[in-house]
């Protein structure tokens, strides 16, 4: 098994961010569907559940969620570009671009929320 000293390079970090954000988003999905499912029991039930989103901690969690979504999307676009376009040797720039786009989306969302 290779160790962390060998794994410490940009493409591996990009892989880790993509994998961990994917797992975190998958774990969030049940909560997402649970809240949406309240709509089946009427408008009041859904609004009651959505009132939770006014709590600052939940707002912070929403920002984290958007950051994860943006990171996962940008990471996925990076992989598609690497695999489908002719190789140009700009793979590290792609990883940086994906990270930058994800952070920009997260910060924009945070400014809107708070």
């Amino acid at each position: 098994m290779i160790g962390w000293r060998a794994r410490n390079h940009p493409a591996y970090w990009a892989f880790l961010v993509h994998r961990l954000s994917g797992i975190a988003l998958a774990l969030f999905l049940p909560a997402h569907f649970l809240v949406l499912g309240q709509a089946l029991r009427g408008e009041a039930a859904l609004d009651g559940a959505l009132r939770w989103t006014e709590v600052p901690l939940v707002k912070a969690a929403e920002v984290a969620l958007v950051l994860l979504l943006a990171a996962h999307l940008a990471g996925g676009l990076r992989i598609l570009a690497l695999e489908l376009l002719a190789w140009r040797g700009w793979q590290k720039s792609l990883a940086a671009l994906a990270a930058g786009a994800a952070v920009a989306v997260g910060v924009t969302f945070a400014l809107g929320v708070f």
Partner: protein, 238 residues
């Protein structure tokens, strides 16, 4: 520059331990020089492998301070600024003894990836005219310089996760032949490298490209194989 190096060397097989040695520090010293000093002056039982000493044969690759490297082309000054070296056998390969790994599975996978050239002409035919500027030849040239040292194979997580995975070097070899217009086994080779043990198992972590001492990019070759396999499937060729 410190007068001596503190060197920890793996001793034993899969079960073993690091043993410490003190080696004199020299100007322009390579890691292979250090290992050779230990075997010749301190511990004649130490097993390691080398041949050319100039980065041509690919036999002296080891794990140096956690990263797979050619020891002959790695200067101590580049990897051990603090005078401490940790030398282990390559990861992802069975250890025979000390710093020597069993490379059989590594080379068997080249055969499984159909890494041998299959000619379409005989010696009585005129030599093939291959223009160097064509896209296929450029793709082959970009990947052709591999000398089979195993550094990429030892730097790949997917090899550790999936023991059947052909690995970066074998797939890179297959990619050079896919781009060789003289070769006559394209469909069979693409079928051999497709699937869970082939190019589609790559997670684009790029450890291979990061560590390749020849600066090759096996990840690019593997991405090319994925596209070639996709096209062949759409055309009904495999």
């Amino acid at each position: 520059m410190a007068a001596t190096l503190q060197v920890r060397v793996w001793r034993g097989g899969a079960e073993g331990a690091f043993r410490g040695y003190e080696v004199p520090r020299r100007e322009s010293q390579t890691v292979l020089d250090v290992v050779t000093y230990i075997q010749r002056r301190l511990d004649p039982a130490l097993a390691y492998r080398f041949a050319c000493r100039v980065g041509m044969c690919g036999s002296c690759a080891m794990t140096v301070n956690g990263k797979a490297r050619w020891t002959c082309r790695t200067h101590v000054s580049k990897v051990a600024a603090d005078g401490v070296l940790e030398i282990a056998p390559l990861a992802n390969l069975p250890v025979i003894r000390d710093l020597v790994t069993d490379m059989r599975e590594f080379f068997d996978k080249w055969a499984r990836a159909k890494g041998e050239f299959v000619p379409t002409a005989t010696r009585r035919d005129p030599p093939a005219a291959v223009r160097p500027a064509t896209a296929a030849r450029r793709a082959a040239d970009a990947a052709i310089e591999c000398i089979g040292c195993g550094v990429c194979y030892a730097s790949c997580d997917v090899v550790a996760w999936n023991r059947d995975y052909l690995g970066p070097a074998a797939l890179n070899r297959a990619w050079t032949l896919v781009n060789d217009v003289r070769d006559g086994a394209l469909a069979a080779r693409l079928a051999a490298v497709a699937g869970d043990a082939g190019c589609h198992a790559c997670h684009t972590q790029m450890g291979c490209a990061e560590r390749c001492p020849k600066q090759l990019v096996p990840t690019a070759s593997i991405a090319g194989l994925k596209r070639a396999v996709g096209r062949a499937v759409l055309r009904g060729e495999i």
